[in-house]
């Protein structure tokens, strides 16, 4: 279960229609779980020794996952223009 999707995160809005802007390249992924460790949005999980994207609905587009992956297995790009995270209080 993605606990994050149950939590209301105050002060921020997510606009749908982002597309799958973060993907895991399963061939490159070594299952280390570093992306799971660093993601405050709890967007990732591990199954069958590979990382996978649970949901990008609480993604802050920070790219911590992409920075931390030792195998360059996180394909990170920006969500479609005008979608994804919005905040007035950053």
């Amino acid at each position: 279960m993605n606990k994050r999707s149950k939590e209301v995160i105050p002060g921020v809005e997510w606009v749908p229609g982002t597309g799958d802007f973060i993907k895991i390249n399963e061939e490159k992924c070594n299952g280390c779980g570093d992306c799971v460790k660093v993601c405050l949005g709890r967007c990732f999980g591990l199954r069958r020794r590979k990382a996978y994207v649970r949901s990008l609905k609480t993604c802050f587009e920070c790219a911590a996952c992409w920075f931390v992956c030792p195998e360059d297995a996180v394909d990170f790009s920006w969500p479609k223009g005008g979608t994804g995270l919005r905040t007035e209080f950053g």
């Binding site: 995160i9 105050p10 002060g11 921020v12 606009v15 570093d34 799971v36 460790k37 660093v38 993601c39 405050l40 949005g41 709890r42 802050f60 587009e61 920070c62 790219a63 911590a64 992409w66 920075f67 931390v68 990170f76 790009s77 920006w78 969500p79 479609k80 223009g81 005008g82 994804g84 995270l85 919005r86 905040t87 007035e88 209080f89 950053g90």
Partner: protein, 414 residues
């Protein structure tokens, strides 16, 4: 296919400043921004020194929240503050601002100067003609051509990587920051913070400060009728990746149990936002990071995209403005000379290297190794104080040339 003299990617802090200058020089200038409104995708929690900021920002009445007249450093042990140091100045050393209103205002000034702004537009790739960067491709598949691309996209550098001139920053140089924002009555902000920014230090055993934190601090920034807090954690340190996602929230909970928060601040603070972002806080300390190019054929990088972070003030925003103005000047000259080659644009490197502040951000000059301080309490106090006081050293020559009242007169009233 649309054609511009200059395309600026990113309506954050640097982008609009570069675009305004280019537009004022008569260049056909476009800013593309992936958010619906400029600044809505930036989480920074920021206080910015305005001494060397462009005149049009200092004098233009931007949406500043509050002026800070100094810093307070609090050292925590056993859940309480046991030592405090207050450093005060007779003029504002820094100004608090929220990114969305500030970046929207900056972009408005660029548009008033003649730049075009396209929001909700993501630049997904560069256009290459031979060895030259000649524009961008948007997420709608539009090809927008430029003679010069000014890349102000931030630390992720996705376009600059596609352009072949940058590589991804290493996780050791990247801090993940969890930031909370609280409403607070302005009279309470006045009384509790006294127009001073606060930094809290603690040894690792207090479990208040993230163990792989930059300087073992919790930041508290007082705004007009709100406060903004930040606890940060490096993604990787000495080969170790921490369980950041849980750790930062736990440490916040621990911080909220310390006496000053629990009894003084917390009762007056109402949580209204929880946000996070990555920050290129130590890029300047890694030679392989700060030696990457900042220009190429048809492209200039500014701000965090160029690695111009600032560990001392924590906000690379002033650096984004300085580098934006220099890049715009070079772009204007290059277009006059009809030469957008890397050789010509290398003038950008000459100029930023001669700037009084920018080179400091990518060297170890004036930094203190607070990661070492986490092992020694006396050292933590010493270096904690020096780290922030060091950014004041730049003020001393100015104090020799100008009276405090003269300095105060050139800074905005908030």
């Amino acid at each position: 296919m649309e054609k511009y003299d200059v395309i600026v990617v990113g309506a954050g802090f640097g982008g609009p400043a570069a675009a305004k200058k280019c537009a004022e020089a008569g260049l056909r200038t476009l800013i593309v921004e992936r958010g619906q409104r400029p600044g809505e995708k930036i989480v920074s929690g920021t206080y910015v020194p305005l001494f060397g900021a462009p005149d049009w920002i200092r004098e233009g009445n931007p949406p500043l929240e509050r002026a800070a007249y100094g810093w307070k450093y609090h050292f925590i042990k056993g859940g309480d503050i046991y030592l405090s140091i207050k450093v005060s100045f007779p003029f504002p050393i820094s100004y608090g601002m929220y990114c969305r209103p500030m970046c929207t205002w900056l972009a408005e000034q660029a548009v008033k100067s003649g730049a075009e702004l396209r929001t909700s537009t993501t630049a997904v790739d560069v256009i290459k003609e031979g060895d030259y960067i000649k524009g961008i491709v948007t997420d709608r598949g539009e090809e927008l051509k430029s003679d010069i691309l000014i890349d102000s996209e931030g630390l992720q550098n996705l376009l600059a990587i596609k352009a072949g001139i940058r590589k991804k920053y290493i996780p050791d140089a990247i801090e993940l920051c969890l930031e909370y924002d609280f409403e607070m009555d302005s009279a309470d902000v006045d009384r509790i913070f006294e127009d001073h920014i606060e930094f809290h230090f603690a040894m690792p055993e207090e479990k208040v400060i993230a163990p792989l934190g930059q300087g073992s601090v919790v930041y508290l920034f007082p705004y007009r009728n709100s406060i903004h807090t930040c606890i940060g954690q490096f993604l990787k340190h000495e080969g170790e990746v921490a369980q950041t996602s849980r750790l930062l929230e736990t440490y916040y909970e621990n911080y909220f149990q310390t006496r000053r928060w629990k009894e003084v601040i917390g009762p007056k603070a109402k949580l209204r936002a929880k946000m996070w972002d990555t920050c290129p806080l130590y890029v300047g300390l890694f030679p392989e990071m700060h030696s990457m190019p900042r220009c190429g054929n048809g492209i200039l990088l500014i701000g965090d995209a160029a690695g111009f972070e600032d560990t001392s003030s924590g906000a690379g925003i002033a650096n984004a403005w300085y580098s934006a103005e220099i890049a715009a000047d070079v772009a204007i000259e290059a277009l006059k000379a009809k030469d957008t080659s890397a050789v010509f644009l290398a003038k950008y490197d000459e100029l930023w290297q001669a700037h009084p502040v920018l080179p400091r951000s990518i060297s170890d000059r004036g930094r203190r190794n607070l990661l070492q301080a986490q092992k020694d309490e006396a050292l933590m106090v010493k270096l904690g104080f020096e780290q922030w006081f060091n950014s004041v050293y730049d003020l001393i020559p100015m104090l020799n040339l100008m009276k405090p009242s003269e300095i105060a007169a050139m800074l905005p009233k908030v």
